[in-house]
Symmetry: C2
Subunit: 421 residues, 2 copies
């Protein structure tokens, strides 16, 4: 099939299956999730052998060891994926929830009900477990899913999708509810992104490059789960021991993820005391620091270990052991800095002052605004959503961790008795 | 200024003002709305003289009398616009509402708060009152607004925006919160649609052509308030008197709007009795009917007044006194037909059968699904939303009438005590 025909075929099949899925009882969906978990474990040797193909290809292509590790599946990882499916099965089904209801003056009875989107396309990069996660969250929410994974994990993704579709059939559900894109040609994705009649939503899981590709190409509505240029601001009134712990945690606990901090902002009143201590902690843990002039003055003793900060440093999501530092005149300048460079992901203030806390949480525009806690907490599991398909940095539809409810839409159902206007 | 510079200037000004607006107290916003109402009435002669320019231009260009009527302002219409502003001032402010909150096992206190989008661009066609409505709803929800009206109403829109901005200043608020696009060049709109860093949302108010223009051109997230190809399905068990009243109301009460019905579907068991009666009603009111073969058989006595229906008729939003008719085998075929041709706006069943009601409301995928009521009720005021900026037919973010809450996003605020992961 040509790319366009292939895309249309996938989207039509998904759209058809989505109508059955939308009315499937929770019990049947949960049964399918459990079948999926069992099938993954039962067929693990097939999965591992396809995964081996990807690993071999990856090594031939010279992928970095970090990327190879992201690709790698083993018995333990398969077990973990299967367990996460069993967890999703235990979560409450959001579909059918009546989110509001009332009677109008004319006597119409209105209900607003939670319903599936219909067809969700998930576009992702190297990790094969996303194939299973995305399929599971979409199934649970009554959505058909089109899976378009990274080409490095092609063989792994294909076998995982096949295993899932087999399990759907076992559970008496349409296998077409999960559509795997059987091509590595990016043009198929471009064609899928034109099909706004059949596909209701696209969720990209990946970096800014993938986001920009979708901004350019998608006619289907998108929820962007994009990058985080997150800040920690240490206020004049901060408990400096807390500030030190939070800064170090936000930077080094897992520096490669989107909720880790990239820039430290420090109130000038505490810079002299705070900066040398926190900088020593960070440098000890291998963090490279890029500091503005006032920070470097406070860090004179560590001068050899600290580089001058540029505009570009403040604008960068390092995703590694690097951090920009700036001394600010006060909370207003900190809020200004965040408005200028932040990506609206997670922002933290360390303070003991009530008014500073109020001002920061009101004026900083981000998905998650923290007072006296690390930015690293922005996460579906921590927030208690049960499962997460990504963290949205856009304001339309859903902001912050995307759980099951965020994968749904609503519908008004109106009951009359022959009402006319 | 060149188009691109102009667009960037407008968007930056709006983004800056939006930060002040986001934290403005309700009282101040409501005061500004009342100032706006008073300024409109006080400056009505200026407004009417600019409106006269548009009318003169429109007549020179040979606009239809319907379009001229949409353009026209007079003292009564200005009074009505001013009153609608006073109504918006009395509505509860959605900003700051805590929509959820809980404590995590680690002891973090999480609140999910309703916040403004930031900057909303509203793109609309002929009616100048939209300039005021859109500005009022955005102001109430703490959003800065960029207004891009139709070029036929250019002079009216410009003076209305000027009056509104003056009133904002009087109320001590930034006039930059309302940005009027001072150019009729469509290229400025194209440039605005690229500025996803500064503009958070675009709402088009207009037909399918405007929607398609935005699908092609916008990098900013969009809520589509698009067309409605709505159906009335008369079930075998329907009260036929109700069915007749509902069908006629849904078609003729205001045929030019998106929630009017375009196709009548009738269960074969009642076609013989129902169709001649309802067809006579419709024809009496000037409706042209396009009927399939089975319908025409039932309408043999009216054969001269009924044309054969084509595929194209079923796919058309007539927005006028025309209606397609089809006899179906039963509810499944009706649901199929709606899935094929419907635009997900408003769909109605007339039935006395509980199971048919359940099946229809569950399986029909639309913003509003009616049982025994006219599709004409899909409206923000009828639904009790107080005010409406359009009716969304998309599933992302908001579906159905867009009231004040639908013009907001949310933010998580998390309070810790030195929490780290």
């Amino acid at each position: 099939m040509k790319n366009k025909e292939l895309a249309e075929h996938l989207a039509r099949q998904a759209a058809q299956a989505s109508r059955k899925l939308a009315i499937a009882p929770s019990k049947q969906k949960d049964q399918a999730l459990i079948e999926m978990a069992e099938a993954l474990e039962r067929r693990s040797s097939e999965i591992l052998s396809e995964n081996q193909e990807d690993l071999n290809e990856g090594r031939r292509k010279g992928l970095s060891s970090a990327l190879i590790d992201r690709l790698l599946l083993d018995e333990d990882r398969i077990k973990a994926i299967a367990d996460s499916l069993r967890d999703v099965a235990t979560l409450p089904d959001p579909i059918g929830e009546v989110v509001g209801g009332w009677r109008t003056p004319e006597g119409l009875v209105i209900e607003k009900r939670r319903v599936p989107f219909g067809v969700v396309a998930v576009v992702y990069e190297a990790r094969p477990n996303v194939t299973v996660d995305a399929a599971a969250l979409c199934l649970k929410t009554g959505n058909a899913v089109i899976l378009r994974g990274g080409s490095d994990a092609y063989h792994s993704n294909r076998i995982l999708a096949e295993v899932i579709m087999g399990a759907l059939l076992e559970a008496g559900m349409p296998a077409e509810a999960v559509q795997f894109v059987p091509s590595r040609d990016r043009q198929v994705l471009v064609e899928l992104l034109q099909l706004s009649d059949h596909i209701d939503l696209v969720i990209p899981r990946g970096g800014e490059q993938l986001k920009n590709f979708l901004v350019e190409n998608s006619k289907v509505p998108v929820i962007y789960a994009a990058g985080g240029n997150c800040h920690v601001y240490v206020d004049a009134s901060a408990d400096l021991a807390d500030a030190r712990a939070i800064t170090v945690n936000a930077k080094v606990q897992r520096p490669g993820v989107c909720n880790s901090a990239e820039t430290l902002l420090v109130h000038e009143a505490v810079a002299g005391e705070f900066l040398p201590a926190v900088a020593a902690d960070l440098i000890d843990r291998g963090v490279r620091l890029y500091a503005d002039e006032r920070s470097r003055a406070a860090l004179a003793d560590l001068a050899e270990r600290v580089e001058p900060a540029t505009e570009a440093h403040y604008a960068t999501e390092f995703l590694g052991l690097e951090m920009a530092v700036r001394v600010v005149d006060g909370i207003e300048q900190a809020i200004e800095h965040i408005a200028e460079y932040g990506t609206g992901h997670s922002e933290a203030i360390v303070t003991s002052d009530l008014e500073a806390s109020r001002q920061f949480t009101e004026e900083v525009d981000a998905a998650a605004v923290y007072v006296n806690a690390s930015t690293r907490f922005t996460d579906g599991a921590v927030f208690g959503l049960g499962a997460e398909i990504g963290i949205s940095t856009q304001k339309l539809h859903a902001r912050g961790p995307l759980g099951l409810k965020e994968l749904t839409s609503t519908k008004y159902v109106i009951l009359g008795r022959g009402h006319i206007r």
